[in-house]
C-alpha cells in the first residue's frame, strides 16, 4: 500500500500543497517550524480521521482561514482509493472514500494501516498508565473487531458501578444485589479484554525485543511487562474481595481499567534508569514492533511515518535502522529531519525509490529524486 499524492488547503501552517510521492522513501527536510511534521500529520489524518497531535479539528485550520481540506490517493491492493477529509468551521467534518461519505469514522479507521513514530511518544514513558493502555488497545482493536466494542461497554459498566458506589457512600448503605448486577457486566466484558491483552502481548513482546536488539544495544536487556491484578486471581474473586475497599473509595478499584504495561531496562523502570537515547530506541522498537504486528495481522505493509527520529540516536543505531529500510522490510516510509545533509548522506547508497522535499514556509520543493 502507498500514498500516491497529497493535496492540502489551509491545513495548519500550509496554505496549499500538491505533492507526488514514490512507493519508497519520502523525506521532508527544512528548518524548525516550517511545517514538516504538519505534512506527516495530514497523512495521519487520512488514516485516522483526526490529527495525531490535536484532536480539536478547528484548531488544525490555518490561522485566519475558515476551512481545511486534505486529499490523498492511495494505492491499496492495486486499487486507487481517493480519501477526502474536509472541515469547515461550524460544520461537521466530512470524510469520504471515493466520493462516498462515511457515516461512522470508525468504519474507516484500520482501512489504511499506518504507524507514526514521533518525539511525542515519550508520553508513553512519562505519563500515567492510561496512555499505555490506549497504545495496547489501539493495536488490538485494529485486528480484533469485538475488542473495541467490549472496551466501550466495559468502560460504561465501570462508570455505572462507580456512580452506584458513590451514591451508596453518600447514603451510607450497601446494596449487595445492585453491586452484583454491575459485577456481572464487568466480568462479561472485562474477561475477554484481559485475555485479548494477554494473548497480544505474548506475541508482541518477542517482536519488540528483536527490534530493540537490532537498533539498540544487545547487551541491554529490555522488556515489556503486562501488569494486571487478574494474573493473581479470577476477576470474579477480585471484585468480591475488593468490595469493602471499593465501598470506602467510592469507585471500582480493581479491573482491567487498572492494567498497565511496564517498560523495563535491565529489570529497572525505563523512566528512571534509561538514558534519553535508550528511551528513544525503546520507543522506536515499540512502534516498529507495532508495524510488524499489523503487517502480520492485516497482510498489508502499513505506512510508516518517522518524525524527527535521527536526533539522539547514535550512528550505529541509525545505520541499523537504515539497513532495515534498504532490505525492503518496510513499505512506503515518510521521514522528517531538520538536517538536509544528514538525510542526503544517509540515503545516498540505499537502493530504493527516494524523493527528498525541501519544506519552506510557502512552498514544498522536490530537490532530490532517485
Amino acid at each position: 500500500m502507498h500514498l500516491k499524492n497529497l493535496h492540502l488547503v489551509h491545513f495548519k501552517n500550509r496554505d496549499q500543497a500538491d505533492l507526488e510521492f514514490v512507493d519508497g522513501i519520502n523525506c521532508f527536510v527544512g528548518n524548525n517550524g516550517v511545517g514538516k511534521t504538519n505534512l506527516l500529520d495530514s497523512i495521519y489524518y487520512l488514516a485516522f480521521c483526526k490529527s495525531f497531535f490535536n484532536p480539536i479539528d478547528s484548531q488544525n485550520i490555518q490561522y485566519d482561514e475558515g476551512f481545511f481540506v486534505i486529499e490523498g490517493t492511495f494505492d491499496r491492493n492495486e486499487k486507487d482509493e481517493k480519501i477526502y477529509c474536509g472541515f469547515k468551521k461550524g460544520d461537521k467534518k466530512q470524510f469520504k472514500r471515493n466520493k462516498k461519505n462515511y457515516d461512522r469514522f470508525s468504519d474507516h479507521i484500520g482501512f489504511l494501516p499506518l504507524v507514526m513514530v514521533s518525539p511525542a511518544d515519550t508520553e508513553l514513558v512519562y505519563d500515567g498508565s492510561e496512555v499505555r493502555r490506549k497504545f495496547v488497545d489501539g493495536v488490538i482493536s485494529q485486528f480484533n473487531s469485538s475488542y473495541l466494542d467490549n472496551l466501550l461497554k466495559y468502560n460504561k459498566a465501570v462508570s455505572q458501578r462507580n456512580a452506584l458506589l458513590k451514591k451508596m457512600g453518600e447514603e451510607q448503605r450497601w446494596d449487595a444485589s445492585s453491586v452484583e448486577v454491575w459485577n456481572m457486566q464487568l466480568l462479561q466484558y472485562g474477561q475477554p479484554i484481559y485475555e485479548a491483552r494477554r494473548e497480544f502481548l505474548d506475541e508482541f513482546i518477542p517482536i519488540f525485543q528483536q527490534y530493540y536488539n537490532l537498533i539498540g544495544n544487545e547487551s541491554e536487556e529490555v522488556s515489556l511487562v503486562y501488569k494486571s491484578r487478574l494474573h493473581e486471581a479470577s476477576f470474579e474473586d477480585l471484585l468480591q474481595q475488593s468490595e469493602p475497599k471499593d465501598a470506602r473509595a467510592q469507585y471500582t478499584t480493581v479491573g482491567v481499567h487498572k492494567d498497565d504495561l511496564k517498560f523495563e531496562i535491565k529489570g529497572h523502570p525505563l523512566k528512571k534508569f534509561g538514558s534519553q537515547g535508550q528511551q528513544k530506541s525503546f520507543l522506536i522498537a515499540l512502534k516498529l514492533a507495532q508495524f510488524d504486528f499489523m503487517k502480520m495481522k492485516k497482510g498489508i505493509k502499513p505506512l510508516l511515518l518517522l518524525d524527527d527520529i535521527f536526533d539522539k540516536l547514535d550512528k550505529n543505531r541509525v545505520k541499523a535502522l537504515m539497513s532495515l529500510v534498504s532490505e525492503h522490510h518496510f513499505g512506503q516510509v515518510f521521514v522528517t529531519d531538520a538536517n538536509k545533509t544528514r538525510i542526503q548522506e544517509l540515503f545516498e547508497d540505499i537502493d530504493t525509490a527516494l524523493r527528498i522535499f525541501e519544506v519552506q514556509p510557502n512552498e514544498t520543493k522536490l530537490i532530490t529524486e532517485k
Partner: protein, 199 residues
C-alpha cells in the same frame, strides 16, 4: 416568556422550537388555546396508574388487568407504557403486563428502589403467576435490570424467561451486526418452531 419556558421543558423541544410553538399559540383563537390547556389539566386529573401493573389507566385497576379474557398466569415486564402499546400492537400476546417505569442506571440516579419492583415480587407470589417474561431494552442497563430481577425472582416458583434476541425479520445477514448475528447462531432454534407462527 413563561409559555416558551414551559414548552422548553418538554422532551425533544429546544429553545427555538419552544419559541415557535409559543408564537403559534399566540396566533390562535382564545377558545382553542383554552381547550388546549384544559386537555392538559384533565390529563393529570383523570389519568392515574394501575395499582396492579403500573400502566396508565383511568380507573384503579386498568383494562388489561381487570379483563377476564387475558391469560393471568403470564406477566410481561416492560420499561414503560410505550412498550405495552408496542407489544399490544403485535396482537401476539394475551397475558398481563408489569410496567417498571425505567431501568436501573446509577449514572442517571435510578436504582432498584426507584422502579416498580416490589409490586412485581408480590405479584410473583400471588399463586396464579406461572411465568414472568422479561421484555426490556437490549442495552447494558436493560441487561442489568434483567439480571437484578432474575436474582430477586429466583426464590419464587415462577419461570423467568426473556424475549428472543436475533436477526430482525426482513434483514439481510451480511448487514446484521456481529453481536446480534453471533447470538442468533448460538441461540438457534428448531426449524419447526420458526414456521409455526401466526403472522
Amino acid at each position: 416568556m413563561e409559555a416558551v419556558e414551559q414548552f422548553n421543558t418538554l422532551p425533544g423541544i429546544g429553545k427555538k422550537t419552544a419559541l415557535r410553538l409559543a408564537v403559534h399559540m399566540l396566533g390562535r383563537e382564545k377558545e382553542e388555546v383554552e381547550a388546549f390547556s384544559r386537555a392538559f389539566s384533565k390529563l393529570k386529573e383523570n389519568v392515574t396508574f394501575c395499582k396492579e401493573c403500573g400502566n396508565i389507566s383511568d380507573r384503579e385497576i386498568c383494562d388489561i388487568c381487570s379483563s377476564s379474557r387475558r391469560n393471568r398466569s403470564v406477566i410481561c415486564v416492560v420499561e414503560d407504557l410505550r412498550d405495552v402499546l408496542a407489544i399490544e400492537n403485535t396482537q401476539q400476546y394475551d397475558g398481563l403486563y408489569h410496567v417498571l417505569g425505567g431501568h436501573i442506571s446509577p449514572m442517571d440516579g435510578i436504582g432498584p428502589g426507584d422502579l416498580n419492583i416490589d409490586n412485581l415480587l408480590t405479584r410473583a407470589q400471588n399463586g396464579e403467576t406461572e411465568e414472568i417474561v422479561l421484555a426490556l431494552s437490549t442495552t447494558m442497563e436493560g441487561d442489568s435490570t434483567n439480571f437484578y430481577l432474575y436474582k430477586k425472582l429466583q426464590p419464587f416458583s415462577v419461570n423467568v424467561s426473556t424475549i428472543a434476541r436475533g436477526v430482525a425479520i426482513g434483514d439481510e445477514l451480511e448487514y446484521t451486526d456481529e453481536v446480534t448475528l453471533g447470538r442468533s447462531i448460538v441461540n438457534r432454534m428448531p426449524y419447526e418452531s420458526s414456521i409455526s407462527r401466526k403472522e
